[in-house]
C-alpha cells in the first residue's frame, strides 16, 4: 500500500449561500501526481485554497501526514510542508530572481538561510531550466520563466505536497511541451504533486489519478483514461442533450 500523504474528508466550503465545494473526499499518495480537473467554476481552485490555507473549509477535515491542517493559517500549513504556485503568477518584483527562490526556502518546511539557501536556490533555478536569466531583473523575465521562478520558490522548502494551480495555463505549444517534461521530471524525483489543470494533454501524460469536480462535488475518480471516458464527466464538460 502506498503511504497516504494528504487525506481530504468531507470538505465543504460555503460562501454565504453558495456551496463552492461539497463534501469532497480524496487521498493523495506519496510520490503520486493527482490531477483535480473539471469545468470552470467547479471548485478546483477553492479546494486548492483550502489545502494551502488561503481560507478555512466550512466543515470537514484535511490531514497532512496524519496531522489536521484544515483551518490553520497559511504560514503554518506552509511550514508543515504544503507549497503552492498561483493561478496568476505571483513573483516578488523588488527582489532578485535568486531572492525570490530564497523566499521559499527561508521560512518554510525545511528552512535554509545564508550561503546555503543561496546555493540551494541557484541549484533549483537550474533544475527548473533557468540558466543565464538568473541574474535578470524579475520584470524582464518571459512568461514561462516567471512560472519557472515560481515553481522553484515552491520547491525551495522541499514540500511534502506541491500544489500547482494551472501552472501550464497560458503557455504556447512549444513551452507547453517543455513545461510538461519539467513536471514529469519532478514526479520522477519522487515528489507528491496536486495538479489543477485544464490542458488535457498534460492531464493524460502527467497524472497518475484524477479527481473530477463539477459544481463543487466529486463526480469521478480514477486514472485519466478512465475518468475522461466517464459519461458523467463528458456531460459535465460538454453538456448533454437532455439538459438542453
Amino acid at each position: 500500500m502506498a503511504r497516504v500523504v494528504l487525506e481530504v474528508r468531507d470538505v465543504t466550503k460555503r460562501f454565504g449561500g453558495l456551496v463552492a465545494v461539497r463534501e469532497m473526499v480524496f487521498d493523495v499518495n506519496h510520490n503520486e501526481v493527482l490531477g483535480i480537473i473539471g469545468p470552470n467554476g467547479s471548485g478546483k481552485s477553492t479546494m486548492i485554497n483550502m489545502i494551502s490555507g488561503t481560507f478555512p473549509p466550512s466543515s470537514g477535515s484535511i490531514r497532512l501526514n496524519g496531522q489536521e491542517i484544515a483551518g490553520k493559517p497559511a504560514h503554518r500549513i506552509a511550514r508543515q510542508g504544503v507549497a503552492r504556485t498561483f493561478q496568476l503568477v505571483r513573483l516578488l518584483p523588488e527582489l532578485s530572481v535568486v531572492e525570490n527562490v530564497i523566499a521559499g526556502a527561508a521560512f518554510g518546511h525545511r528552512k535554509r538561510w545564508g550561503a546555503e539557501a543561496e546555493s540551494f536556490a541557484r541549484t533549483l533555478l537550474e533544475r527548473v531550466g533557468l540558466g543565464r536569466q538568473i541574474n535578470m531583473p524579475v520584470s524582464s523575465l518571459t512568461y514561462i520563466n516567471t512560472k519557472r521562478v515560481e515553481l522553484a520558490r515552491a520547491l525551495a522548502c522541499e514540500p511534502e505536497v506541491l500544489l500547482l494551480d494551472e501552472w501550464l495555463a497560458g503557455l504556447n505549444p512549444t513551452e507547453l511541451e517543455t513545461g510538461i517534461d519539467l513536471i514529469k521530471s519532478l514526479r520522477d524525483e519522487g515528489r507528491t504533486i496536486i495538479l489543477v489543470e485544464h490542458v488535457m494533454d498534460a492531464i493524460r501524460s502527467l497524472c497518475d489519478r484524477c479527481v473530477v469536480m463539477s459544481s463543487g462535488a466529486k463526480i469521478a475518480e480514477g486514472t485519466p483514461t478512465e475518468v475522461l471516458a466517464d459519461e458523467e464527466v463528458i456531460r459535465a464538460y460538454l453538456g448533454a442533450d437532455e439538459d438542453a
Partner: protein, 308 residues
C-alpha cells in the same frame, strides 16, 4: 561579516563620533537645530524600519512620542532619569503591539487613517483624564541641558542604526521585504506576517516613545495638544520619504535638508510651514518617488555601476 561591512561600520561610528563633538563647539543656535535634526533622524529612521519594507504608512509617531513625553512629565520628580526612557520604551512597545494586533490586518489607506486617528484618540484620552483630575499641562523642570539631550539622541541614533543594520541582514528583515512585495506569497512561504509586522511596529513605537521621553525636558511645559501634535507624524513621514526608505541612511538624507528648510521658513514666514510640508509631499510624489535614495540609485545606474 565582510570587509565592506566592517568598513561601513567603522565609517558610521566615526561619523557619529564626530557629530557627538558638536556641543563642544556651540551650545546655542546650532546645537538647537542639531538637536532637532537628531530627534528627527531617530524618529524617521525607526519609522522607516517598519514602513520602508512593508509599505505601511504609519501616522502614529505622535502618539508614541507624546506617550514618552508624558512618562517623563509624570515621573521625573519621583524616578531616576535613566529609568524614564526604559519605561517609555516598554509602554510604547505595548501600545504598538495593541494597535498592531488590531490594525495590521487593515491594508493601505485604512491603516493610515487608523494610525492618524490613534494619535488623536490618545491625546483626547489624556486631555480627558487631565480635565477630570483638574490638571492642565505639566512643567518639566530639570537640570538637563540641551547638550545632554543631544548626546542622548545621538546615542539613540547609533542604536537605531545598529538595530536597522542587524534587521536588514536577518531573516526578519527579509520577511518584511517579502511582505512588502506580496503578502499572499509571504504567508504561503511560511511567514507569520502578523507577527513580523507587529514586532517591527513595536520597535518603531518604542523608539518614538523613548525620543519623546528624552525630549520632554527641552519643552519645559508639556500639554496634550503639543505633545501629541499630529504635525510631528507628518513631518517624520515626509522626511523619511524625501530621503528614501530603500537604504538605512535614506531618512537621514531627508532629515537634514528638510529640517534646515523648515527652520528657515518658520523663522521668516512662520505661517507657511504647512505649505512647505505640502510642497515637499508633491515633490516626493512627482519628482522623487524613491526619495534621494532612489535618485542616487538611478544616477549610479546611469553612470555605470560605480564602486559597489
Amino acid at each position: 561579516m565582510s570587509m565592506r561591512d566592517l568598513r561601513n561600520l567603522f565609517l558610521a561610528a566615526l561619523a557619529l563620533g564626530l557629530v557627538a563633538l558638536l556641543p563642544l563647539y556651540d551650545t546655542g543656535y546650532i546645537l538647537s537645530i542639531a538637536t532637532t535634526m537628531a530627534m528627527f533622524t531617530v524618529l524617521a529612521t525607526s519609522w522607516a524600519l517598519f514602513s520602508g519594507p512593508t509599505h505601511y504608512i504609519s501616522l502614529a509617531t505622535a502618539a508614541f512620542f507624546g506617550l514618552g513625553t508624558f512618562v517623563t512629565g509624570l515621573g521625573f520628580q519621583t524616578l531616576p532619569m535613566w529609568v524614564l526612557p526604559i519605561i517609555a520604551a516598554g509602554l510604547g512597545a505595548v501600545l504598538a503591539a495593541l494597535v498592531g494586533l488590531v490594525t495590521l490586518r487593515l491594508s493601505g489607506v485604512y491603516f493610515v487613517i487608523f494610525t492618524l486617528g490613534l494619535a488623536e484618540l490618545v491625546r483626547q484620552v489624556v486631555t480627558w483624564v487631565q480635565n477630570r483630575t483638574g490638571q492642565r499641562g505639566m512643567y518639566v523642570l530639570t537640570s538637563i541641558t540641551e547638550r545632554d539631550i543631544y548626546w542622548q539622541l545621538i546615542g539613540m541614533a547609533a542604536l537605531v542604526f545598529l538595530v536597522g543594520w542587524l534587521i536588514a541582514r536577518s531573516r526578519l528583515g527579509f520577511a518584511l521585504r517579502i511582505i512588502g512585495n506580496d503578502e499572499t506569497v509571504a504567508k504561503h512561504s511560511g511567514i507569520d506576517t502578523a507577527a513580523a509586522k507587529v514586532l517591527l511596529f513595536m520597535i518603531s513605537g518604542a523608539v518614538a516613545a523613548v525620543v519623546g521621553a528624552m525630549m520632554a525636558p527641552r519643552y519645559i511645559y508639556i500639554e496634550p495638544s503639543t505633545a501629541f501634535a499630529p504635525i510631528l507624524s507628518f513631518q517624520v513621514v515626509i522626511m523619511a520619504l524625501l530621503g528614501g526608505t530603500g537604504r538605512l541612511w535614506g531618512p537621514l538624507a531627508g532629515v537634514i535638508p528638510f529640517t534646515l528648510l523648515w527652520e528657515f521658513i518658520s523663522r521668516n514666514a512662520p505661517n507657511q510651514t504647512l505649505l512647505l510640508l505640502g510642497i515637499a509631499f508633491l515633490v516626493i510624489v512627482y519628482v522623487l518617488p524613491g526619495g534621494f535614495v532612489g535618485l542616487y540609485e538611478r544616477l549610479r545606474h546611469r553612470f555605470g555601476s560605480g564602486g559597489h
